[in-house]
Symmetry: C3
Subunit: 439 residues, 3 copies
């Protein structure tokens, strides 16, 4: 059994089922595939599906027409279907125009993508804001097409129409109006790690937060958006809400076989990065630390000047870093539900600590509180205490000394070497006795 | 002769006499023993004795009734006095209720403290805010009591009565309203290092400051209080005065045979800590540095949020750290007057530098002052100066450059490598010439 | 040819000619020699010559009477001219009173300076604000005078008269009102490195800036002043102008055979020091870093509290540091025009970067700009870019992320590892597209 025994088997089983159902769906930045995905996620958590109409201006961008695709193929003159969209939705570059034409190899060639360096894979490509059409194929298919005699029939049965961009949203209220953001992106077709794994982790993490809602300090804003345009649309339509966000996560690439790691938010000294690091250290887990980079995912929007939210990402096989990234090999052989659960547990622990990182104020700031009067002090003075009592006393005394309404429990933890969990318990005890108040 | 020749023999002799007179007195947080102690200290310095009545509320605390004790013993049925308060005032837990009862061993046992790990010592215990009574005994006495046949007669002739808490206070005015605090505690019965040594050092340090009062920049507030409740009472009754305090010292455990050291104030970068460290370095004395800890002495009150005064302690065998701490072995064999004088000299040097750590402003901030016009420059230009003149010139030029009313002489010393003493002399010279003014 | 081929031969030739014309002139803090020097410099750049009358109060100082000297010598009774001002204008201490007297050796001796440690040199001395007269001689001359029989005839045909202190000034306007200061001193008689080299470098650097005036961001204030009193006079008569200065250079001792180096301005973290260091690193040139010191040149005035301008000096054989400093051996054998050109090129590169160190603001701070819309993004998404395009994209994305009107291009360069030159080009491109604006 060993470590495997630690994993919640029913949870991995459940995630497995959702991976299988969600993987084949053809998602993009708009379209029916995204709505179907959100409907399935509603089985896990009660997220609301919202729509932003095509043509809506969102800052420097405009919501594009909705793109839907029914079928696509390349056939030779003998009617053999050499490339078939129904085999893999990666075969068609996302947002390709419809086409129905007989072409020479020379003409077709400029409409083909393949990866010379990874011939067994079909690459993943998009042409969102640049009209055109292309197929993506693996090396063998490329050679087969090249070797084909006569003309080839390229057919893409896609359509553009005024419609809307769809996203999912779930708000979980804690005691505070200040929010933590969880964002994942639902715009990738059949790719498992990037980022179906992140979408499922987010849904189950949301589920976990709902279950413990009574205890939450912060409120949680959880969004399922198409990457870039969806995040931009969300910011543009929720400007006031975004001001409430204290920090957040973009949840992506959390289910690969490789190493755990995290991309820091833009301010490396921000509590979110210190808490992630603390959790990895407490769990004694080796991890890759990726400093903030301007390339990445939707932290590019959330951390932009207008919002400047510190957004981090905890990952297992981070995007950009694994060889199968953005190819058909990022599939259900690559991603395992156990890996997703492993990353989920780290997210849960990080959020548990982040949620406790609040600010207290000592209501009796002049000299020491008389602890014995409040039943907070061992009875006989003049000698040393057993170490358990000493530790509890330490937490109380440091909190009384440091909680001035301007310093968070994380800072107190770092200064004193006490854990944020211990400090939080002690602060709650003294809050109940009317000695501390939330600052 | 050697090093011994460096010590002021008449001073050590004087301290020896006071140690012998003050050691036997039974002090507590209130009572006649404290008043007698303060009266004897008045022979050294003109401190004023003040009283805070029992029942006075001081923040979260209340001044307790006065506790006085006349006698106490444990006798066996044969009338043998097995434990006798007159042998050691540590035998009775401070603030024990009166008792006069014949008890079985089983009953008596719960009223006895001894140190299994240090059987030759009588421990020191208190029960200030928790009614009860107990005896403290050494291991041999404990065994003797246990072996005793028949009942044992426990007698404590103590009393509680409305009275007051006594403390001593001495204010020494310098040129500035800003104050330095010196605080020691007078609540311990017969214990020599903790903190009779600190009480005597404070008295002789006060004497030294009085002698040089003409030269003092800062004012000095010197208090002799019972620990915790006395310091709290002092803060509560001197709130406005406390705001004038720049930094301070709790003087305690300064006379042991062990190593010199200091406990830093809560802000490790505060001038008080930097100056203490500088003095130890200049004197090339090995020392133990104790970072600020929330456990300790009256810095817990003075540094609490309401006051936030940086308070350090220079010690020789710091409390908590030596094995005889809070036992009858912390006696006049353990403490020597030469050790107290050694620590006193460090305090004097630290305070001398602290007193010079003031802020100047260059009254002529535009371009350089014409030093030659003010007789501050050597006469022939165009060449190098002898090193003595060069150093004096350095001090002048740096002071003119840096004294902008916002930077202290300590900071200038640290930035330039010149000593605060040299800078102070130079600043005074330029102050007299009307070029610098106190900022 | 080798490295020599890199040097602009016509420039070194031109500098050589000016060195030869300017070296022999007897300059001081006032007088005709200074005016003649400024007139010759006007052949290089159109500087304006201005005068501050004798007797003008400038802060703690007063402009002295003008000193002019026609001739000076020491003759023996046989009429032999043992010391002759026409051999070297260093023979007479600057600002010596007129004298015409027959003296014994004993009397004369107190009016002689020579360098026991460097007997082959005539030392350079001044007596600006201290009436008197002296001759400076080398060791051989000193011995000859001492060995001379009979009286010696000392003659200095100098005069003091109400006149003025002369300085040169050139203002070059860039787009910004903020200025960079270039200051050199013209008060030294026949000394080549200190600071005739600096005077010529400044003139040719000014020439270079005039040629590229169209492209300049900052404005440039270039002054040729007598050291100390001239800089003080300039500050006192240009107080409002001085407030516009962002940072500056005192250009001196730039033509020796020794190592390049720079004296940091008083704030070691100021951009001027970071940019100088960056240029030396980019050029992979070994250099001596001299931390700010209160001794030095006119940074003593410009950096004084009233102005607090960060002023650095790039040097080749810095004053104080070479053995021939302030002697007749600091001559045209010691200084070479190639060395001056080498230092000039560093100054030009430093100023080029400093001039680009401006602040931009992203006019579209909410989420990312849609780069493709502005023709700033490569066309096919979903894959990696060639490294050249990636680097250009990096610069754009980082600028959009970081340019918030509060951070300079230097800071962005240091944070991202991109060069300030690349960032500046990219910022200009986006400024032209209306995306960034100068902040």
């Amino acid at each position: 059994m060993g470590n495997a025994a630690m994993i919640d088997v029913s949870l991995t089983h459940e995630i497995d089922n959702y991976l299988k159902r969600l993987f084949p769906i053809c998602r993009s930045i708009t379209g029916e595939g995204n709505r179907e995905t959100l409907r399935i996620l509603q089985e896990i958590v009660p997220l609301q599906v919202k729509e932003v109409p095509s043509g809506t201006d969102v800052y420097d961008w405009t919501i594009p027409q909705e793109w839907n695709i029914r079928d696509a193929w390349i056939e030779d003159e003998a009617g053999r279907r050499l490339i078939d969209f129904s085999d893999s939705n990666l075969h068609v570059v996302s947002y390709s125009e419809p086409v129905d034409a007989w072409l020479d190899w020379d003409e077709l060639q400029s409409h083909l993508h393949y990866r010379e360096d990874l011939p067994e894979a079909i690459p993943y490509r998009t042409t969102y804001y640049n009209l055109g059409w292309s197929f993506c194929v693996n090396g063998e298919q490329y050679e087969m097409l090249r070797a084909s005699k006569g003309k080839l029939h390229a057919r893409i049965d896609s359509s553009f129409s005024d419609g809307s961009l769809s996203y999912g949203e779930l708000l979980i209220s804690g005691r505070l109006k200040k929010e933590i953001l969880l964002s994942c992106y639902i715009c990738h077709p059949s790719m498992a790690n990037d980022s179906l794994s992140g979408v499922l982790l987010t849904a189950f993490l949301a589920n976990h937060l709902l279950a413990m809602q009574e205890e939450l300090n912060y409120s949680y804003r959880i969004v399922f958006v198409p990457e870039t345009i969806g995040a931009i649309a969300y910011c543009a339509t929720h400007e006031a809400d975004m001001r409430k966000i204290e920090s957040g996560f973009v949840v992506t690439t959390v289910g690969g076989p490789g190493k755990l790691g995290y991309k820091q938010s833009f301010d490396a000294s921000h509590p979110i990065n210190r808490i992630i690091e603390q959790v990895f250290q407490e769990k004694n887990i080796d991890r890759v630390i990726y400093p903030f980079d301007i390339h990445g995912s939707d932290e590019r929007q959330y951390s932009s000047q207008g919002f400047r939210i510190n957004v981090a990402s905890i990952s297992k096989d981070k995007y950009y870093e694994y060889p199968f990234y953005h190819t058909s090999l990022d599939n259900l052989d690559f991603v395992r539900s156990e890996a997703i659960v492993e990353t989920l547990e780290i997210y849960e622990k990080v959020i548990s600590k982040l949620d406790k990182n609040i600010i207290y104020r000592n209501k009796m700031p002049n000299c020491e509180v008389m602890l014995s009067k409040h039943d907070l002090y061992p009875k006989t003075g003049g000698s040393f205490l057993p170490s358990g009592l000493e530790a509890a006393l330490d937490a109380r005394l440091w909190l009384l000394f440091l909680c001035d309404g301007g310093v968070s429990l994380l800072e107190i933890a770092e200064q004193t070497g006490l854990s944020i969990d211990t400090l939080y318990d002690s602060a709650c005890e003294m809050e109940n006795k009317g000695i501390l108040e939330r600052g």
